[in-house]
Every structure is written in structure tokens, then in C-alpha cells.
Amino acid sequence: MQLPIYLDYAATTPVDPRVASAMAECLTIEANFGNPASRSHQFGWKAEEAVENARRNVADLVNCDPREIVWTSGATEADNLALKGAAHFYHRKGKHIITSRIEHKAVLDSCRQLEREGYEVTYLDPDSNGLISPETVEQALRPDTILVSLMHVNNEIGVINDIEAIGEVTRRRKVVFHVDAAQSAGKLEIDLERMQVDLMSFTAHKLYGPKGIGALYVRRKPRVRIEPQIHGGGHERGMRSGTLATHQIVGMGEAYRIAREEMREEARRTLALREQLLRGLEDVEEVYVNGDLTRRAPGNLNISFNFVEGESLMMALRELALSSGSACTSASLEPSYVLRALGRNDELAHSSLRISIGRFTTAEDIDYAIERIRHAVAKLRELSPLWDMYKDGVDLDQVQWAAH
């Protein structure tokens, strides 16, 4: 077992060695270094072939046509292109957009920008389990709604929205439906033939591919249009200009090819590890799982240890690499907006850990993590005046705190 143990796969993943070697084949003079847009020589043709092969691998994982895949620099750019691109194209139909409060910042900040441009955005509240129901979406639709953007799997709490059912609502009402699938691709089955999703964002680095590459799926039938946000040489059918990064694209293609072959087995394995982790922690007093436990991506556990502050907990867990929803770990000094949107009190957001499990996690790692976490929580509760008060039977909600 190698310390520290990486348990932050929802933040990023290491590149699979098979992916790294495929990428290395696309860089040097002896290798496939050409510009895929060069039409006049075989260096270009060979690079183009590698790019198209990768595009097919990405398309195959989610069952769509390769011509529906547009390369971007990552899911953030894909989200920006989807939201701004669709909003700008369809603005004559209306200027109303629907999203949720617990989307990724790439979606929320794109919505803020569109608001500055005169669009109106409805931010749906999730239920206490973090889910957005098709009924909630339907009720928010207006005659001038042009776009709905919701994530498939939430990055903090791992819960899975029923995008298939939501897609039926949006299609019936002829509203463009965008889904951020950064956390779900290669972990859950996605079938774009069956799911009525119009735009879908992907990234490579959450799926053992490199950082700096992603894609946007843009549906052809029925055809969805977007205004490009980056102008230039007309690459990617004019939707996203810029010389294609062959090595990055090949890396993403290989990562998605591997995922297609191995995802079922991997999902089974990571789920078993998460269950092992939860079993090891659930008998600790005052422990709360954040987000729905059944509709949840296999590798995610988000858990709060009441009366213990998240940053100090992470400090005690320096052998474990994980995330917290605590204010102190964020640049803004605000606790996680996702956990707050679940209606939980701020204390539980401050006390939360996100543990995300992936391809290289072992059962031994999980046993070690359980032991360390239990020890740290016990130690910090010994230090916690809130724990004393709880043990004395004081109702902390009735105490007049001096907020600062």
C-alpha cells in the first residue's frame, strides 16, 4: 500500500498507462505528429485518421454517431459551448433557461453570463436527496423556455438524475436539453439513441484520460444548432475552431474505448469498495450520508461527521487524499453550495467528506481509510465543544450563537 492513498477520483483520475502510451505515439518526429487539418500529405491524413478513430470510440461509449461529437478543451468548455451556443442560436424563440442550484460552476457561471446578456434563468431546487424530478422540470417550463441544463451525476454527492425521463418532458415541449455527463460517462450506461438528450458534455480526465480534452455531443436528429463560441479555421464543422490536439484526442479515445470494455466490471468493483467503506463508517455516532444512496454513482460517498469540522478532519487524514465541503477548504470561505441546497444545516456541510473511489483503489486502501477516519473523528470530537454539548443533551439549534 502506497501512502498517501488517492481517494479523490471525482476531482481527477490518473491517466491509464494504456492511454499514456497511445498518447506518446502522437508527438515526436517518428510518431503521428501531423496536423489533422493538413489535407495535402500523409502526415495530416494519418493524424486525421487517429482523431476520427478516437471520435468513434467516444461515440461508441454513449451510442451516438461520431459526427455528433465536437472536440473541446474539456467539460467546462463543452458546458460553455452548449449553454451559450444554444442560447445565442435560439434567442428569437425565447430567452428563458432552466437549470438547478447544484450544477457545476461551469454551468452556473455560464448561466450568470447569459443573465447579464438579458436571458432569464430559473434555478431549480433539488429534493433533500439531491435529485431533480421530471415533474419539477415540467412545472418550470414556460412558453419562452429554450434550454434545460442538468447534470447526469453530481460531482459532490454522486446522485444520478433520471435524464431519460426528463428528456421525454423536454422533447415533448421542444426544448433543448443539455446534460453535463463529466461524472457519469464510463461509469453509468449512457445510450443517446434512447435518451432524448440534445447536448451532452464529456471530459477525459475523470475517466483515466488526460486533462485538457473533452467533447460536446450535438444531436443531428432532430437537429440541434449552436452558435460557435470560438472562431477560427472552421474546425469541427465550424462549431469549435482550433487545431485539433491529436495526442489529447487519442488519449480521450483510448480512455473511452477502455471504459466501454471494462465499465461494467469496474462499476461492480467500485460499488463493492464503497459498500465496504460505508459499512466501516456507518456505526460511528452522528454520521450522515449526503445525497440519495441508491440513485448514486458507484464510486462516490459523501458523508458528514457531526460536530467535527471538515478541514481539521482532513488535516488529521493527511495520508488520505480526499475533499471536504467545509468552508475552510474553499477559496470563498463558504461551505459547499451543493450540500446547503439539500436543506441540511451548515454544520453538516462544514463536517462533510467526499470520498471517491476508482480504478486503482484496493480493499486494503479502504480498510486503512476506515481505520484512519474513525480514529480522526474520535480525536476531534474529544476536542469539540459541540460534541460535549451534544453529549450533555444540549439542543444546539436552541443556542444563541454569536455569528461572525
Binding site: 460536530f307 467535527v308 469540522e309 478541514e311 481539521s312 488535516m315 467545509s326 468552508a327 475552510c328 470561505l333 461551505p335 444545516n345 451548515d346 454544520e347 462544514h350 474529544e382 476536542l383 469539540s384 465543544p385 459541540l386 460534541w387 460535549d388 444546539l396 450563537w401 454569536a402 455569528a403 461572525h404
Partner: protein, 129 residues
């Protein structure tokens, strides 16, 4: 975030963790902060007849810097008179621990805690007289 050696030392080996008997007229309690803000400090002092702080205990819910600030404070106040202890400033704590700007509020909270504890024990002693 990188922590200073001193913060780590106080975090790993906090000094004077515990509780004093709040019913004792010579014990002052300062409880500051709020759970919703992510930090709560409880600092307690016991003074002798001459107004000298004989003992100090703390418990803190908060980040490592908040724990270290309160731990350091308990070391500093022991043996000082109440008057002297009121002169401890958050800047002294922040400088000693090498707190980065985003953690200055932890030292502010510690200063608030000792002031509240001193005020509490003074009030209790006046009432006892």
C-alpha cells in the same frame, strides 16, 4: 494549504484540552463563534484570589488554525493576571503561529474567547461578593 510547523505542533499535540467546572465562581467561560460558520471555541480560565490565571482549558470545533490558536492561548494566559491577559492581541497569536491572511479570523476568535472568559469571571466574582 500548507500549515506552519507551529500550527501542526499544536494541532497534533493540543495543550490544555478539557473543561473546568463552570459552577465555580473563580472559573470564567468564553464561548465564541457559531457552528454554522465552521468554528466554535470554548475557553475557560480559573483565577486565584489575586486575580492570577492558574489554569486554562479549551475545546475547539474548527479548522487546524482555530485549534492551534486556542491551544496557544491557553499556554499564554496561564500565570498572567486578568489585566495582563486582556492585552493579548490576535496579531500576537497570528504572528506566533504564522497564520496566512485567510486564517486571521481564527486568531480574532481566540482573542474574543479570552476577552469573553475574563468578562465572565469578573462578572461572577462581582456577583459572589
Amino acid at each position: 494549504m500548507a500549515y506552519s510547523e507551529k500550527v501542526l505542533d499544536h494541532y497534533e499535540n493540543p495543550r490544555n484540552v478539557g473543561r473546568l467546572d463552570d459552577d465555580d465562581a473563580n472559573v470564567g467561560t468564553g464561548m465564541v463563534g457559531a457552528p454554522a460558520c465552521g468554528d466554535v471555541m470554548r475557553l475557560q480560565i480559573r483565577v486565584d484570589g489575586d486575580g492570577v490565571i492558574k489554569d486554562a482549558k479549551f475545546k475547539t470545533y474548527g479548522c487546524g488554525s482555530a485549534i492551534a490558536s486556542s491551544s496557544l492561548l491557553t499556554e499564554w494566559v496561564k500565570g498572567r493576571s486578568l489585566e495582563d491577559a486582556t492585552r493579548i492581541r490576535n496579531k500576537d497569536i497570528a504572528d506566533e503561529l504564522g497564520l496566512p491572511p485567510v486564517k486571521i479570523h481564527c486568531s480574532v476568535l481566540a482573542e474574543d474567547a479570552i476577552k469573553a472568559a475574563i468578562a465572565d469571571v469578573r462578572k461572577k466574582r462581582e456577583q459572589a461578593e
